[in-house]
């Protein structure tokens, strides 16, 4: 695929900006994500107010795709409810798997649309979905905890 559509401005800027790469004071949730095949590692931190994601951040190391994807996701979920975040994850993963192609349905992903073409690069899909799967895991665990309470 064309490199400039992979490393688009949105991706390189998110990769370099580090504005979401920080610890969240008083974080309620810490979740680790790891790609054993390539060594990418992130730790997602969420500060919740009830079901609302008040703030989020991440630390870790990885390639530009995984770092940018994490940062884009954090911008997207900040201020959303866990339920809304869950929907965003479903749409994002649907986009990557090419199961969702409807432009209007995808619009909600905003900057994350920049990762659309990653589907053409099977070797990099894992990098793009790492953060989203990590968040999905967190939400699942939380739902399970609520059930058990």
């Amino acid at each position: 695929m064309d490199l400039s559509s992979l490393y688009s401005e949105i991706i390189t800027e998110h990769n370099m900006s580090n504005h979401n790469k920080r610890h969240i004071e008083g974080a309620d949730v810490l979740e680790k994500g790891h790609n054993p095949s390539c060594g990418d590692e992130i730790e997602l931190e969420l500060k919740l107010q009830g079901d609302l994601i008040e703030d989020a951040g991440y630390t870790g190391v990885g390639c530009a795709i995984s770092q940018a994807s994490t940062s884009i996701m954090i911008d997207l979920i900040r201020g959303k409810t866990l339920e809304e975040a869950k929907q965003l994850i479903e749409i994002f993963l649907g986009m990557i798997k090419r199961e969702i192609t409807d432009e209007q349905e995808l619009e909600i992903l905003e900057d994350a649309l920049a990762l659309r073409n990653i589907a053409n690069m099977p070797s990099r899909v894992k990098c793009a979905v790492l953060a989203w799967h990590t968040l999905e895991e967190t939400i699942k665990k939380r739902a399970l905890e609520d059930k058990n309470d």
Binding site: L3, E9, N15, M16, V61, G62, I65, M121, S123
Partner: protein, 409 residues
């Protein structure tokens, strides 16, 4: 000259992303010459049958091809007897065979196993398992700043408690050549056995197991022009004799009754199930190719290339090279990083220039941690690579940071 060698390797003659393929990942697996492909095809076209079993001509042909490869390997590595050559799937399986069959039976509580921090996971994880199961201690030979194992390290770590030493002859990450002769001698002086992982050395340099006096040597066919799925375990007869089989089943038995089994003689005791005769046919053609080419010439080409690559890459700003730059202590493997750019991004960007390199931890996570890096890029060379390949690598590398928005071209 170069063109002539490349003609033997049709895989190299293709365009990738609009550019000529520059294959720099031979440490992972090598491309295959036409003669190897033809040998495999010939086997399946005219000699395919289950070896060692049939009393008919075709099966005898298959047996002959398989056993002939054993003889070719024995001579190639300077071993004494055919029965000391066991075919495996690859280096990993060969090391697991030793770990399960020797390690689990002859290593005891409190014994020490010594490996180097530069081991591939295949020569590390099995020993962790043995140490855990038997209550043994796993100790590491650490590297100096150049990535080499210092004499003192060998002297201090291999002690009277050491029962088994297993080290790679050439690091798959740094390309550094380890002093295996000294390590083997030291191991023997304390009564330990010595295993050499030769996956990265036998394809590239002359290795003589008798001169080295190693107890076991393991390597893979696919890293030396042969197909995937065939590997070799060399072991001293006395050790192989006292070890129980690794895989039980067909072809490795002598007599089987309802409750008991006696095992076949060496090397068949370790070759349970139908073996990879097509792979063996390919391996024999691969060895023939290397012998006709000349191992000294293979080594000379690679030394020339790695020397050139070190010079070329050193000229590019923001490139960090790992390991010694002394080509006398280094094989054709080069690990590096581009500042601020993750190796996976480097590999993707190079791929768009047609350049194939490896990025990641190279199945050597403890070494990455020891080097305090998360991952590296690795370019590795073989007899079919050229200086032009390295020029293309260098040009592409000089562009890499720009793609991620750093500086200008």
């Amino acid at each position: 000259m170069d063109k002539k060698i490349r003609n033997d390797f049709p895989t190299l003659d293709q365009m990738v992303n609009g550019c000529r393929l520059v294959y720099l990942d031979s440490a992972a697996t090598t491309q295959k010459p036409l003669s190897v492909m033809k040998e495999i095809e010939d086997y399946y076209r005219s000699s395919n049958a289950n070896p060692h079993r049939g009393a008919y001509s075709l099966s005898m042909q298959a047996t002959q091809i398989y056993e002939n490869t054993r003889t070719i390997i024995k001579e190639f590595i300077g071993a004494g007897k055919e029965k000391e050559i066991v075919f495996t799937k690859n280096t990993t399986e060969a090391l697991n065979l030793i770990a399960y069959s020797y390690g689990m039976n002859f290593i005891n509580k409190g014994d020490e196993i010594v490996i180097s921090i530069a081991e591939h996971h295949s020569n590390l994880v099995p020993w962790q398992q043995v140490a855990k199961a038997k209550g043994a201690v796993l100790k590491y030979l650490y590297l100096d700043e150049e990535g080499l194992i210092a004499k003192e390290e060998i002297e201090n770590k291999i002690t009277a408690k050491t029962k088994l030493v297993s080290v790679t002859q050439v690091s798959n990450v740094l390309g550094t050549i380890n002093p295996v002769k000294e390590i083997i001698e030291k191991a023997h002086s304390v009564g330990a056995i010595a295993i050499i992982d030769a996956a990265q050395s036998i394809p590239h340099q002359r290795v003589n197991v008798s001169e080295l006096d190693a107890d076991f040597i393991v390597f893979s066919g696919h890293k030396m022009l042969a197909p995937m799925g065939i590997g070799v375990l060399y072991g001293k007869e006395a050790l192989l004799e006292k070890m129980p089989p690794f895989l039980f089943g067909g072809d490795m038995i002598e007599y089987v009754t309802e409750q008991d089994t006696t095992y076949a003689e060496l090397p068949y005791k370790f070759e349970g199930g139908t073996q990879n005769v097509g792979g063996a046919a390919g391996l024999s053609a691969a060895v023939k190719y290397l012998q006709e080419f000349g191992m000294d010439k293979v080594q000379a080409i690679e030394k020339d290339l790695v020397c050139y690559a070190i010079d070329k890459l050193s000229e590019i700003p923001h490139i960090i090279l790992y390991g010694t730059k002394d080509v006398e202590k280094k094989a054709g493997v080069l690990s590096f990083n581009v500042e601020d750019v993750h190796p996976h991004d480097v590999a993707t960007i190079l791929d768009s220039y047609g350049v194939a390199i490896r990025a990641g931890h190279h199945c050597a996570e403890p070494l990455m941690r020891y080097m305090k890096v998360n991952a590296t890029c690795r370019a590795s060379f073989y007899l079919y690579n050229t200086k032009e390949d390295i020029d293309i690598l260098a040009e592409a590398l000089a562009d890499t940071r720009r793609w991620l928005g750093y500086g200008s071209k």
